[in-house]
């Protein structure tokens, strides 16, 4: 905690509580956006999921609120960590991450045909949610170690392999959505780390060629690389249908829900939600619930909160006193922005249905806690850069 010390000496007049909570060094706007989003989530669930579970009308609300409180505590705790020391644990973190993803193959609980969960005595845990953050921390560390050495194509390839291994494992679970998020995180960190333009362009081009080639070659010889439902979901938004099990039906219902919200929302007349036309109302399609119930006002407010979050995340990158922090922050911004944009895009019928949740808004303990963990890291980077800048003045 070497780096955190200066704040004690510089602001002795601050109350003990603020010091313990490290609030002095947190980014208040980032904090506001995070708490605003989780609060909006609880509010939405409270007003729209009363009839979901007959025996316990507050089932989702109570749990999401609890996850929110736990998450905020976790975030504040993490913000006090000297994140730079995580570098030293990079091999352990990376091994733990890969191991936990592999672990679900062995003992994971199948949810709708795919293994994503580890069952604990009191709760289930989805390792891939934690993996997103751990990938940021460990990949940034691996890159950081290489920074002082000559940076050639072999380095790029090595880092690429390190970055894409967890994604590959997650694809096999199979969890298409999380896998894509992990790829986005890895590529963004590589991009931010400053690898040569040519390398980056080559990676992107190779990736596109590979994905397309594998898919086409697979179809040609009759091998399916995507599961049937994954392919359906990815292509469904091109051809709408009436089958409620069908992805394009979901998108159609989602668009009707959002569109019907108009400017101020339909409140308790939100029939798309209330009459269950909308699928996955508390998770993947919660944005459509917001759009219908609170209209453009509510839906745009959520976007605005995310905009604040991303802006502060990018700003953390700029003010970070450590290049390690820059790369972690880059990965975290990529992780949050990618999930938010893809999920909202899916709700709006702009993007295929991939099963990516909306950070802090979608119901789910693993997702909420994983996101707050990431936000805690952002705050830690922010706090240390402030401490540094105080010292330098």
């Amino acid at each position: 905690m070497e780096a955190a010390k200066p704040s004690f000496t510089i602001a002795p007049q601050r109350s003990r509580l603020l010091e313990v909570l490290n609030l002095r060094n947190l980014d208040p706007i980032l904090l506001f956006a995070s708490i605003g989003l989780i609060a909006f989530s609880v509010f939405t669930l409270a007003s729209s999921t009363q009839h979901e579970i007959a025996a316990d009308s507050n089932y989702f609300v109570v749990r999401q609120a609890l996850y929110g409180v736990l998450g905020i505590v976790l975030m504040i705790a993490v913000s006090r960590i000297d994140y730079t020391r995580l570098r030293e644990l990079r091999v352990g973190i990376y091994a733990f991450m890969v191991g936990s993803i592999a672990f679900v193959f062995l003992v994971g609980t199948a949810v709708r045909g795919s293994n994503r969960w580890i069952e604990f005595p009191l709760f289930q845990f989805q390792p891939s949610e934690l993996a997103k953050v751990l990938l940021c921390v460990s990949l940034a560390a691996f890159i950081y170690e290489r920074l002082r050495r000559p940076f050639g194509i072999r380095t790029t390839l090595w880092l690429l392999a390190v970055g894409l291994l967890p994604a590959a494992l997650v694809f096999l679970q199979p969890d298409l959505g999380t896998g894509i998020v992990l790829v986005a995180i890895a590529l963004t960190i590589l991009f931010v780390s400053g690898i040569p333009w040519q390398h980056f362009a080559a990676i992107v081009a190779a990736g596109a060629l590979l994905a397309g080639g594998v898919y086409l070659a697979g179809s040609a010889v009759g091998v399916q690389f995507l599961h049937g439902y994954q392919e359906d979901r990815l292509t469904a938004f091109l051809h709408p249908s009436e089958d409620p099990q069908d992805a394009s039906y979901q998108v159609t219902q989602s668009k009707i829900a959002i569109g019907s919200g108009e400017v101020s929302g339909r409140g308790d007349d939100a029939t798309q939600t209330e009459l269950l036309f909308l699928p996955e109302r508390h998770t993947d399609f919660i944005y459509a619930v917001i759009g219908e119930r609170f209209g453009f006002t509510g839906a745009a407010l959520v976007i605005l909160l995310y905009a604040l979050l991303f802006w502060r995340g990018l700003r953390v990158m700029r003010i970070s006193t450590s290049f390690y922090g820059v790369m972690i922050a880059g990965g975290i911004v990529a992780m949050l922005a990618f999930q938010a944009i893809v999920n909202v895009g899916m709700n709006l019928g702009l993007m295929p249905v991939t099963g990516i949740t909306l950070p802090l808004i979608s119901y789910g303990g693993s997702s909420v806690l994983g996101t707050f963990l990431a936000l805690g890291l952002l705050q830690a980077i922010h706090a240390q850069s402030r401490a540094h800048s105080f010292r330098s003045y």
Binding site: L147, R318, I341, L348
Partner: protein
Amino acid sequence: MYLLDRPEDIPPRLTNRLNLRIAILGAVVVAAIATVLLRLWSLQILDGQHYRAMAKDHGILDVRVHPPRGEILDRSGRVLVENRTVMTLQLRPSDLPSDKSERRRELAKLGDLLGLSQPEIHQRVRATPQYAGYPVVLKQGLDRRLLFYFLENKESFPGVSVDRTYVRRYPDGSLAAHVLGQVGQISPHQLTRPQYKTLRPGDVIGQAGVEYTYDKFLRGTAGAERIQVDALGRPRGTLGHRPPQAGDNLRLTLDSGVQETGETALRDKGLPGAFVAMNVHTGAILGMGSYPTFDPSFYTRPHTKAQYDAFGNQPGDPLVDRADQGGYPTGSAFKPITATAALQDGLITPSTIFDDTGSLDIGGLVVHNAGGAANGPIDMSTALQVSSDVYFFNLGLHASASGNGGQIQDWAFKYGLGRKPQIDVPDATAGLIPTPAWRNRVFHSHKNPYIDRPWNQGDNVNLAVGQGDVMVTPLQLARAYAALANGGALVRPHVGGSIVNIRGQTVRKIHPAPQRHLRISSETRNVILEGLHRAADEPGGTSYAVMGSFPIPVAGKTGTAERQGQEDQSWYSVIAPYPNPQIVVTVTVERGGFGAETAAPMARAILERYFNQHGGGVDTAAAHAAGPG
């Protein structure tokens, strides 16, 4: 190449390269957020109303509420057809689970509960027209146990609904079954007709009898219930309700007593036949029945197509209404028509005498009276009394010899024979009055093996006594006798009396005007009626044995028609009281033999019942009908 010189110790120099890359990352995020916001704007602000309308239409189900159908009553208000409510289990095959094994499981469960085998269910589904969500009735009259089971477990039976439906009930069993007809689901073909344009698949309409003719009154108006349903089709409350309007009641002209007497007489005889009892002035039918008959409640239960077909193809054709669809040669019962033609067209006068020697030579072919009797010199009245064939053969010859030779046919047509009788029961047949043109055409077409030669004089001689190709229904003959009795009005027979709404007010009276008035002089009428009266009331008359003892004077004519390949057709047509008649009764019995033997006693029983109920029966209508012509 080095990315940084001393990464640990120095704060990252915001080199141009890092600045640029953070800026690019930021630009991507900004662009994405802008895209999302634009899309949100487009969906919610620009197209919001469109989507709001879609959402509001979503999950709204308009359920048709069937009205109770009007009741059908006899002339005194006795209920002949009423309604019974039953809980009906219906299946809409289009709403069954799309997954094959789920569908099979649901149908298996249904079969267990209803006691239906899988083939039976499939048969029923196939037997129902499949389009636009046509419901298949699987079970009518669910008991309480099953009813509550299905209501409680609605969600595990997608496509199944339990509804309160109205089913026809016939308190008197098969009484007047042919006249009443039956109801059934409207067919896809019927839906395209203009008179059914407000109806929907699954609605019930009259398919035969007066149920068909007076359907628009009986049917009522369907109500509607607007129900909000969720994505799984579960009702979530009622948004609106328009109650159905019950159909009006139909009061018939039928007299249950007369109807029952006629049907009983036919049933006791056990031979196929029919009767018609009709008011001679108004055409109001008092009784009209056909034997064998059927149980109309068959149509209130769900059946497979094979069962329907089997029901329609029973031996003796019970679904055929012989009273208005059974065309037979009438034998001597035709003679009043021949007599009218001869007298009105001046072939003879009432006092013209023919010497009945018992036989007549027509161009080499000798024809005889039935039984070979010789009646000596007789006039028209006596010829009718004793039913002299020779006298009428002569008229047939005269008709043939005088110019166009079509007098008998012309008068038969005027009397409504060979033409549709314009009754308010559907599908009455026209019968056949043979003409030279008709016979020659059929002969030259070689389509009918029985028509094996062109028309000749013998055909007219045959027609004069109701033999040969002639085909007349009991209804047509009764109508012709009524025209003779009432002085020439060719009434429109009708069983519908009035339409009465549920508050008991008469909204429409049914008394169709006569189709036309025949020019029959009172002399002609009186001569013929006198002959018929003497046939019934004077010794030597053909029906004296049966009607001679009847307390009310009548005028009746027997008919005994030869038919190819079977025993004679027995006819009796009688009008009463003589000479101011109110009622005509016509009875025919297939293979019944002599008219006086089989048909006449049945007619007498019907008249007895009629006059017992009407207290000796001379009412004002009869008194004022005395003087026409």
